[in-house]
């Protein structure tokens, strides 16, 4: 009944120097993708983001459920030029945050694309989020970046992309 093992590592990158973005290409051949991020940033409190296929149009929206130890909040972004994927759970400066992204049916060419994320900053808060890319194109590249002028993901941050293939 089972089709065999899956959840295959596609690529892993550890930053050797500070940089603002990292892009995964050559990601075809799976049903879902999972991106695991352990990242720090400088300076503090800039928001991370996801872009697909280098699309900088206002084709992204997202909904947030977030808590900071005191209260919970829900908010949305519409017609954005990227999926801002952190609220309280942005990459820390004093330790590495934990972020997990799931991109379902990313290669289909019929529907818009939906992703789920959980981003966490122990010193700040935790987020759950859903992001929408209003495109029926197959996702062929994923960019993770940090927004803000002179903002960088710092050396030592790691990014691992996995592929899951359904039966």
């Amino acid at each position: 009944m089972a089709a065999g093992s899956t959840y295959t590592p596609i690529a892993t990158t550890t930053l050797g120097s500070n940089q603002a973005e990292i892009t995964f290409n050559s990601i075809g051949g799976y049903t879902d993708l999972v991106l695991i991020v352990s990242a720090k940033q400088t300076p503090a409190l800039n928001t991370q983001y996801i872009r697909f296929n280098g699309d900088t149009g206002t084709n992204y929206s997202y909904t947030i459920l977030s808590g900071n130890g005191t209260s919970a909040v829900s908010a949305r972004g519409t017609s954005q030029d990227r999926w801002y994927s952190g609220y309280y759970g942005v990459p820390p400066t004093d330790s590495y945050g934990i972020e997990i992204y799931n991109f379902q049916n990313y290669a289909n060419t019929t529907t818009y694309k939906t992703g789920l994320s959980r981003t966490n900053r122990a010193s700040g808060g935790v987020d759950a989020m859903v992001g929408l890319w209003r495109s029926t194109s197959a996702i062929t590249s994923i960019t993770y970046g940090i927004s803000g002028v002179s903002a960088y993901l710092t050396s030592g941050s790691t990014f691992t992309l996995y592929g899951i293939l359904a039966a």
């Binding site: 459920l65 908010a75 289909n108 529907t111 929408l132 039966a167």
Partner: protein, 188 residues
């Protein structure tokens, strides 16, 4: 109300790459489907994960329930935390006011968007435990009316889970292109 703030939790631990196996996948055809059932689930794994990408034909509500081994008794309870882009909400269900445990909240077909969800069912074949699951689900439609939720649900039965059924609580159907994939995660 439930369709606007309804919850589940997931995005779980990353399995090692040789312990995570695809068991079965269902993709809904042009006629839609009111229920999705995975049957004859082998007991050879430790945990199960269901990964979905769904849209429902019912525009007025899109709450989905999960039922194990076709049990429609009052044996399920759930807690959730959700957000709809402007407010948060939390709640619970006990003793099968539904005929299954609430599992996730799917996108309605007026949105143009599909919901993504992940459900983890832990120790599904253990005959000494009630069965628990957690899930994360959400959909965005570039407007209001979307939903994101985390949820945990329990089935108060010690039987091994051999079948899982997913369906729209309000009687709608899953729309074309919806897909449901069942995976097994092995223990050491």
């Amino acid at each position: 109300m439930l369709n606007t703030v309804f919850g589940s939790l997931s995005v779980g631990v990353t399995p090692s790459t040789n312990s995570y196996e695809s068991i079965a996948t269902v993709t809904v055809g042009s006629g839609g489907s009111s229920t999705i059932t995975f049957s004859s689930i082998p007991s050879t794994y430790t945990h199960l994960q269901i990964r979905g990408f769904t849209q429902q034909t019912n525009n007025s509500g899109a709450n989905c329930i999960i039922r194990y081994n076709s049990d429609s008794g009052s044996n399920y309870n759930s807690h959730y935390l959700g957000g709809n882009g402007s407010t948060t909400g939390a709640g619970y269900f006990t003793n099968g006011s539904t005929t299954g445990g609430y599992a996730f909240d799917s996108a309605n077909n007026g949105s143009g968007a599909f919901c993504a969800f992940i459900i983890d069912v832990l120790d599904y074949a253990n005959t000494n435990k009630y069965k628990t699951s957690r899930s994360l689900s959400g959909w965005s439609n570039n407007s209001s009316g979307e939903n994101l939720s985390v949820m945990s649900s329990a089935w108060r039965n010690t039987a091994a889970i051999t079948s899982i059924t997913l369906q729209d609580y309000s009687g709608g159907s899953f729309a074309q292109y919806s897909s449901f994939a069942l995976y097994g995660i092995k223990g050491a």
